[in-house]
Amino acid sequence: MNDLVYLTIANLIIWVGIFLYLLYINKKFKRIEKGK
């Protein structure tokens, strides 16, 4: 595979990983909102 493809995949994985963690935080936040 082309090095640019690998570069894109590696970057995407990092940003998607951070985004998923933010989604997880959002889920926790919604749980508190529901409880109130």
């Binding site: 090095d3 690998y6 570069l7 970057n11 994985i13 963690y21």
Partner: protein
Amino acid sequence: MIYFAFFWVAFSIVLSFLYAPPAEGFKGESYRIVFYHVPVAWVSVLAFFLSAYNSFMYLKKKDYLYDIKSKSLISLGLLFSILATISGAIFAKIEWGAYWNWDPRQISITLLLFIYSAYLILRSSIENPRRRANLSSVYALFSFFLVPFLVFVIPRVYFSLHPDLIISSKGKIQMFGPILHTFLANLISFTLIFLLIYKIDWKIDYEIYKKEMSDE
């Protein structure tokens, strides 16, 4: 701070792809992974260090806030270690030909992942809040003693495929010019991302904790 971080992250992404020239000794443009891989690994070590500090503070002051902060930091540290491992494996595939090479750094980061995953398992297995906070703080504090050995000592004692990217054995910085600027910009950018997520995360965890306490 959010706006500044947003601007800075966008700015450093542009730098990584447009400002930094191609580096010598790497296949094609693959070296640009370093701009993300190294800062992510740095942030995970920073998170583990801060978690040890917060655990120590919990044991000293017995304030649950420190324990909650420590838990948030370890979760974030784990996230960034996983990201560093995956991005490193992809970089290894391009440069060294295989995703996994049994390199000392690859092994040490995997050990860190196991050690800190055990922290989260330990936490989730104890119901009593005080007991949970006490035990997990002691565990986090002791785990951190391993971090300097695993991250800094072992990769330098055994033969490693990883270069000493930032400081060579002569103690001189090997990166220079636009590449160094871009690298530092990304280092700041990931530190900002980490600090912002950490701030949101511990505040939410603290709210959950207060709610649990008021329910009991």
